[in-house]
Amino acid sequence: MYRYDEFDERFVRERVAQFRGQVERRLEGSLTEDEFKPLRLKNGLYLQLHAYMLRIAVPYGTLNSRQLRQLAHIAETYDKGYGHFTTRQNLQFNWPKLKDVPDILDLLADVEMHCIQTSGNCIRNVTADQFAGVAKDEVEDPRPTAELLRQWSSLHPEFVWLPRKFKIAVTGAEHDRAAIKVHDIGLKLKRNAAGEVGYEVIVGGGLGRTPMIGKVVRDFLPKEELLAYLEAIMRVYNSEGRRDNKYKARVKILVHETGEEEFRARVEEEYAKLDGPTINAPEEEVERIAAYFAPPAYEDLAEDSATLDGARASDPALDRFVEQNGFAHKQPGYIALTIALKEIGAVPGDMSADQMRAFADIAEKYSFDEFRVTHSQNLVLPHVKKDDLPAVYAALKEAGLASANAGLITDIIACPGLDYCALATAKSIPIAQDIAKTFADPDRQKAIGDLPIKISGCINACGHHHVGAIGILGLEKGGRENYQITIGGDATEHAALGERLGPGIDAGDVPGAIEAVVETYLAEKQGSESFIETVRRTGAEPFKAGFTAFIEARAAAQSEAAE
């Protein structure tokens, strides 16, 4: 993975000193609260319902054991002993004190980490495929691109005061695990007919209160032209994006209101005027960054491992774990493992300091000292030898990290919701816990198969409910929390927005409603179709019928109870 050089090191240290100065200038009155707010947000510091929240950047979701141990130390010293992995592959601490934040930033800088631009109206932490460098369907590793963008976007002089936040995702694989079509900019590494590598550039996707699928602005951008082309997009957006209404300020609204053709024309016009060579990264620099992401020193192994096969035959729990959480590795004899931070009844994405230390040891010993954070609030051990898997599983189990439910109905994404967030209109974590408990039986989960549920506690959609195969949106209606259910959402290369099944329901009815949706699926399912494949074939109608029947039965039961 990438390592800081003297420039990166000094940059991050100076940013910490700058923030320390900003806090001091706020306290002595040089900065008003209105002026300080965007400055603290651009350094990841939010004021939440009960306390400050500090969001730490995990660039493209990649971490090593030393960093995780430091996060464990921070969690114990400055927080309540745990951290929370987010849907942007970042980590949040929910209880830091303002006076401690500069010290926390120093501790982060000690392990080559920072909070730069994890919030605010600027280019946010760049995300990437969690199986980068692992997946067999990869044209090129997206991490060098993501690291180049991390550097390029950090304290960009022109683009730190945008109309609204701006999110970029990169994938290098055919199967899109980075949700590039629902980002402000999505980049897909691809080859043209001549075999050269470049990018498909997608602009104007997004979730939030106006969800949209991004539009292809450039079908093929030569790789070396990336930064200049992004500068053209950003300049058009910075100049023309709406600033009169924060809910219409994202680039997706500009693309929508301007029209796809006209927006493309404006970007290309700006691009034609740019002096590309003065902006683009030098080729040696791109190569220097890429070298950090060269494959680790794999051993020459056979594809199959007799050790693993034997252990799976004698331990059904291990067998189920490998089947569900394993991901095929391009290197023979290796496997990638998803570590679902989704124990039944736990808070999705939370990890205790003890778990962090145990997991750091595992990553160091068994995965070339590297792991990933996924946008599903899970972790990935990218390079595990199949021969080591029984030992890895035992260690994970001991740390409470061996949940064999990756991708299943209990592997739920949930925003912090009313338990933490100042914007939330409803709880989301308890809803996730209730659903997970309802479907706790492993055999039942297995029979249902892949079914990503995503829960947001308000229309800002941090839980990505629009692109959940089942999406749940919590609102407030007449003083009560009210939940809308959608189905058919998809964040992959088949990107689609979910469709509502009917009126909103009470929190207590959500698990039952999800059961009704699942029953419809199991009845409609043909062959080995997954939930989302069935929805794509049948449309939402049969599910609406099942949902309506559930609501009517509930109403009848309630009125009977009242009599």
Partner: protein, 171 residues
């Protein structure tokens, strides 16, 4: 109003004029809004003036005056409205050789951004300099030594410095 350059506070040679009459009588070089510029140029051909424009102005509308005005002041309605930074880049790209001024309630923390985008100076309302005196602006611009973005500011970017260092290291 206080005008600050990267070297410190300077005397303002320009005087804001909201009407043609005040522009003609200005005790200094008049700084006129875009709405008056056509009339002014006809009335006083060949004389020195500064032009003050909103950050939202399209560059095409500004280009005809770039060869005539000795100063362009780009107005920032609030410190968090970043349009002026992009307009500054476009003005410089058009070859504007005069002084480029950012005008409005910017904060010291944005001084480096402004300089990197091509501004020569910042014109601040007194309410701002009361809270954030010139000293803070001088300190703010030196907080971060190097930047990643090529093509901004005068020095080499971090990416360019790395390349230069590697070339120098080669025998």
């Amino acid at each position: 109003m206080t005008v600050i350059t990267k070297k410190g506070e300077i005397a303002d040679a320009y005087v804001r004029a909201d009407t043609l009459e005040t522009a003609f009588e200005a005790d200094g070089i008049p700084l006129i809004p875009a709405s008056l510029v056509d009339e002014y140029v006809v009335a006083k051909p060949g004389t020195d003036f500064g032009l003050s424009v909103p950050g939202s102005m399209p560059i095409e509308d500004l280009v005809p005056y770039l060869a005539q005005a000795s100063l362009i002041a780009i107005e920032f309605p609030g410190f968090s409205d970043g349009r002026g930074f992009s307009l500054a880049r476009r003005v410089k790209r058009e070859g504007f050789a005069g002084r480029l001024r950012a005008s409005g309630p910017l904060i010291a923390d944005q001084f480096t951004d402004a300089l990197q985008c091509g501004f020569d100076e910042v014109e601040l309302p007194e309410t701002m300099t009361n809270r954030q005196p010139v000293q803070q602006w001088m300190e703010a611009k030196d907080t971060i030594t190097d930047f990643y973005q090529s093509g901004y500011g005068e020095g080499l970017s971090i990416l360019e410095k790395r390349r230069a260092a590697r070339k120098g290291a080669r025998p």
